[in-house]
């Protein structure tokens, strides 16, 4: 059978469609390197990696959600809430940083858990539920803070976001094992297999005895814990808990995950692609900063880039399906 796959098809499918984000990242890197001599310096690469840590951690959890055909719009509410709770725990409730961090993670996970419970209980689309839940979490954040950011965080907490070992930030060093863990889970576990199956054929999953509501609870809780971890690093980076923290995250994360090759409607999970997607997103603002592009234009560019990514996603999926069908028709003729 394998003889019927032509080399051209292999190149298109494996390299171009399978690793769109890596290709995209390479093209951008070359463009920015030509535009600015500072782009490929060690210190800029170090800070580029540091800049993508927060978005990457959120994106890892989001990849699972999207691969399952689910969506979570509550990120914008969860991220500031976790930051505020973590900061308050240290500054007002006298908790040691470690305990405050665990509390923050638990709050993030609890938000995700709650989202899934509501979706399951009322049989509503996650799109609506998480949109509303995000508003609720934002409201809680406002109540907790009276709209005043919380600063004065202990130094041993702030070092998590600002500390460096040579040119590499501590946050980047934390990202590496986390990424490895997510890649392993995505590629080898039974759980990940059920995730991509439920997006495409909920019926097959149900009759296989797998509980979709339970899957949803696991997925949203995992994603919530990721938002929590990202928020904690974000809070440490800025040495304060901001009530508008992560307000642009949702858009950027969806873009990064989809550019990475996980389809908007799920059924496939590209965890390595997600990291490259985050790199693309990070490079756009990093590169434009180096080129001196006005920050306001950067938002417009990001929006346009997302449209482009979605366009490429839809069309490359069509192309992949067409190639697979042609190959199938050919093999049928041969047998």
């Amino acid at each position: 059978m394998s003889t019927t796959v032509s080399t051209r098809e292999l190149i298109v499918q494996r390299v171009l469609l399978g690793n769109k984000a890596a290709l995209f990242a390479a093209v951008l890197a070359i463009a920015f390197a030509i535009g600015s001599p500072y782009f490929f310096t060690a210190s800029n690469i170090g800070s580029l990696l540091d800049q993508i840590v927060v978005i990457s951690i959120v994106a890892f959890g989001f990849t699972f959600l999207l691969a399952a055909g689910e969506i979570d719009l509550s990120i914008t509410g969860v991220v500031p809430l976790v930051g505020v709770v973590t900061a308050k725990a240290m500054t007002q409730w006298q908790m040691p940083p470690v305990v405050a961090i665990l509390l923050g993670l638990a709050v993030g996970a609890a938000c995700g858990f709650l989202n899934a419970v509501v979706v399951n209980l009322f049989d509503l689309p996650a799109f609506i539920v998480t949109f509303a839940a995000g508003a609720v979490y934002t409201g809680v954040t406002y109540l907790l803070t009276n709209l005043v950011p919380i600063s004065g965080l202990p130094a041993e907490f702030v070092v998590l976001g600002q500390g460096r070992v040579g040119l590499v930030s501590i946050a980047t060093l934390l990202l590496i094992p986390l990424f490895a863990l997510f890649v392993i889970v995505a590629r080898t576990t039974v759980f990940a297999q059920h995730v991509i199956a439920m997006a495409i054929s909920p019926q097959a999953v149900r009759v296989a005895g797998i509980s979709i509501p339970l899957m949803r609870i696991k997925l949203f809780t995992l994603a919530g814990a990721c938002y929590g971890a990202a928020s904690i690093l974000l809070t440490a980076r800025s040495a304060s808990a901001q009530i508008s923290a992560g307000s642009t995250l949702l858009l950027l994360v969806v873009a990064a995950v989809v550019i990475g090759g996980t389809p908007l409607l799920g059924g496939r999970m590209a965890m390595v692609g997600t990291l490259f997607g985050c790199l693309v997103i990070g490079m756009i603002s990093n590169g434009m900063n180096l080129l001196g592009v006005n920050a306001n234009y950067q938002i417009i560019w990001q929006g346009l880039l997302i449209l482009l990514a979605l366009f490429v996603d839809v069309n490359s999926t069509k192309l992949a399906l067409r190639m697979a069908r042609n190959r199938m028709l050919r093999t049928r003729k041969e047998t």
Binding site: M1, V190, Q193, I196, S201, V207, A324
Partner: protein, 265 residues
């Protein structure tokens, strides 16, 4: 398979009743399935066949009635409990995850694992290849996603799933509706083989000719009730068709009904 069960029915559905809202979909239906026997369930659309089968598959809850497995009352309230009781269903749409390959579908929900969490990919692929080879010797596309396979190949995967997990009862819902002639023939041979191995088989079908070739017993449903039970070798197609059309009123003798039935055959 197990000769000692040959005496009584493997599965006995007794006085099954289901209503959806105001619609009484299945009323007081009892059906026995014996090892090595093929029963065909016939009837119009909306006669209650699919609902009855969904109950046995654990996909729909019954309002009342009991299901006995080997004479003992069994709780069948989920797809998993049905499978655990040895009942496998080949749904009309086959219930496959189209983005996964044959082995992943075969083992979906019952994966072979390493350390409890990880897929034992090699083992599952090897075992899937082995069982698929037995079912459909021409099946070779083990690495392709199911969406790229033909109807017959897809059905092979669903049947392989039942065979691999040692189903004692296999339910086929409209098995040949989407198959070409060659694939239908392969399916019929397969059913006879499963029967010879002692599997109890329940087939829902619209194809009366196929049913007469395959089934030992015929059960006709209309309006949620069983309106006729026949041994295939004693029945005529005419008789069965008139039962389906007239709901068992038994008035096949009226000239209009008779000519209608004849025209359909």
């Amino acid at each position: 398979m197990a000769p000692e069960t040959a005496a009584g029915p493997v599965v006995s559905m007794q006085s099954i009743d289901v209503a959806f809202g105001g619609v009484h979909a299945v009323r007081d239906v009892s059906i026995d399935l014996f090892a090595g026997e093929v029963v065909a369930l016939l009837g119009h659309n909306g006669a209650g066949k699919s609902t009855l089968v969904a109950i046995l598959a654990g996909a729909t809850r019954r309002d009342s009635g009991t299901i006995l497995i080997d004479g003992k009352e069994a709780t069948i309230d989920s797809p998993r409990s049905a499978r655990d009781a040895g009942i496998e269903t080949i749904f009309q749409n086959l219930a496959l995850a189209d983005n996964l390959d044959a082995a992943s579908n075969l083992f979906l929900g019952r994966e072979r694992r390493v350390a409890g969490l990880f897929r034992n990919r090699k083992l599952m692929k090897a075992e899937a290849a082995e069982v698929l080879q037995r079912i459909n010797p021409r099946f070779k596309n083990l690495d392709d996603a199911c969406r790229n396979l033909s109807g017959g190949q897809r059905q092979s995967i669903a049947i392989a799933r039942a065979v691999y997990f040692n189903a004692r009862v296999i339910i086929f819902d409209e098995p040949t509706a989407a198959l070409g002639p060659a694939e239908s023939k392969l399916f019929q041979e397969l059913v006879l083989r499963l029967k010879a191995e002692g599997v109890a088989i329940l087939i829902i079908s619209h194809d009366i000719h196929e049913v007469f070739e395959l089934a030992d017993k015929l059960v006709v449903m209309a309006d949620g009730r069983v309106v006729g039970r026949l041994n295939t070798h004693e029945a005529t197609k005419q008789q069965v068709l008139s039962m389906i059309i007239l709901g068992g009123a038994g008035d096949a003798e009226t000239p209009a009904a008779e000519s209608l039935v004849k025209s359909l055959l």
